[in-house]
Symmetry: C2
Subunit: 335 residues, 2 copies
């Protein structure tokens, strides 16, 4: 059968927040399957901050990057049987013909993998708490921050896909957890449902003053999703030998000059470590992260929430709203 | 006997580069020795960048902070015999009565220690290559940067007390070494005498362009003594998993706003680690650093140079000239 795929093409370089017309939807005829290939239909698309960060390296005219959960409709590859679901970095497309190997771009992204049947675990969780954001939180926080019981942990972008998991893992490890986010609704969720100790609304609270109040003993670990002024201010409150896990700089992604004023001398004076990472650093240990997060999920120690947008055509809208911070928890698109 | 000490008093808060009158010389009557105390006379005073960095935390009216080598003139402490030399953080003073314990300020500075007799090793080396700067280079570079053979290492403030040792240790470890400093005289010394592979004059060369030429494979380790624009530019050239050892920010010490614009998102994208440190982190391992540096010195693998200013009264002048980058190698004052 001849299948038509809908794809989002990167049409015009983003200037600031992505605008209508920067991505355009096209139809593409998919070729018939060759041996070793399978055809999959998107069920959930992921929208993540890294997609904006990578924009300058994505060639105009190509399908926009991203991962998805897709159902296998047809297969000439026995590793990918019809009816099963696969997580793949196929880009923003409704249908994909793939050969089961690692996609070319972006470099170092993992090969597609078949989702195991876990009964009542929602399928979309494999894009979030049991997928890249879950492992980003697990490894990026534990490996770089090395949190100790009783320490104070600050998380920015705390209500985002990764941040909320980091805060919950920090609670599991016996830390005091302060979440920074941009709405009272998010704060309520973090404190009342996820058990964060404090919430700071960076839009309405004075971050510096509030940190002095809620972290009187200073900050030991900072998991940074946003960069910018927030990071500069948190550094002022950090203790000697503090650890900063640099996961993202979403506050700067829409800016031409992405650099940030940082009190570098304080990193010296307080012997602070700031380390950037990308989730694929621990890709060989993926299963460890997924299994631990699943265990905590099943034990009720990790809770999770998604902001679901309906319809393939609304992927761009979901992407922009995520960049504006309108999502609570992981932003996904249900096709 | 009644001894009069000359001391430099912190009289007026530094505003930018320290000015005449900010420190004033006073005379002080020293009390007669009690049991456990000894009297020592300064032979060499150290002037170091950290002294400017600490200025905001030094109380006006107190003796200015610093280390010195002093000869013991009189003693009621058998651990400190007359005639021996001691390294102590006594401050800028010509004579000191001390009880042999750790000085109160600045916190965490090591207790005075007796200099062993090493024959032809100059006494002043215990303020430099066999003292704090030597250990700062040894531990701060090796522990934080973890350099591997064949990697490219950039050192800023490369002709300073610490930087030149870092570069030489990097050569010993089989790295390619690029030094950044501010005069052709310094560059000549680094390349012709110390064996650095390249020198970049930050005052006359385009750092960005020159780094592209001399480090075409990118930079793996950066040992930072200066902060500021230099650091922001070097980060642009760093490779994935690059390591930055943040030793100092001398370019910002004389500024009111000591923060620096840094491409923080690049630390994420390239998974770079930036870690600040103060030399006392490894104070328990001091002897290891001193012994290794001494061994390399005796084997001719480490060379050393000092900029010596004569006369206690010229300590302030030596301090300001060091902050202006006029010294080559360690700046010391011979009393």
């Amino acid at each position: 059968m001849m299948v038509k795929a809908k794809v989002f093409i990167y049409n015009k370089e983003f200037d600031g927040l992505p605008k209508e017309g920067d991505l355009i939807i096209k139809e593409e005829d998919l070729p018939p399957l060759k041996d070793g290939e399978y055809l999959a239909e998107a069920v959930y698309l992921s929208v993540d901050p890294y997609m904006r960060a990578y924009a300058p390296s994505i060639p105009l005219g190509s399908v926009y990057i991203g991962s998805q959960i897709a159902k296998i409709l047809e297969s000439k590859n026995s590793d990918y049987p019809v009816g099963r679901y696969v997580v793949g970095y196929f880009g923003w497309r409704s249908h994909t013909v793939h050969d089961g190997r690692t996609p070319e771009a972006p470099a170092n992204f993992p090969a597609p993998f078949l989702i195991p049947d876990l009964g009542d675990v929602p399928l979309s969780y494999f894009l979030s708490i049991l997928g890249m954001p879950g492992n980003t939180a697990y490894f990026g926080f534990l490996e770089i921050c090395q949190p100790k019981k009783g320490e104070t942990v600050v998380v920015s972008g705390a209500a985002g896909a990764v941040g909320n998991i980091v805060g919950q893992i920090a609670k599991i490890k016996g830390c005091k957890v302060i979440g920074i986010a941009g709405s009272e609704e998010k704060g309520k969720w973090l404190v009342d449902e996820l058990g964060f100790d404090h919430f700071i609304n960076y839009k309405t609270d004075d971050l510096d003053e509030t940190l002095s109040q809620v972290a009187p003993k200073g900050v030991d670990c900072y998991f940074d999703n946003v960069g910018g002024e927030t990071t500069a201010t948190v550094i002022q409150h950090m203790n000697e030998y503090g650890r900063i896990s640099l996961c993202g700089s979403v506050s700067s992604y829409n800016k031409k000059d992405r650099s940030v004023r940082i009190p570098l001398f304080l990193l010296v004076a307080k012997q602070i470590k700031a380390e950037g990472f990308l989730f694929y650093r621990w890709v060989d240990r993926s299963l460890e992260g997924v299994q631990q997060n699943l265990k905590w999920l099943q034990e009720g120690k990790l809770k999770y929430r998604e902001t679901v947008t309906e319809g393939f055509g609304n992927t761009f809208k979901a992407f922009v709203e995520m960049l504006e911070g309108k999502n609570v928890g992981k932003a996904v698109v249900k096709v």
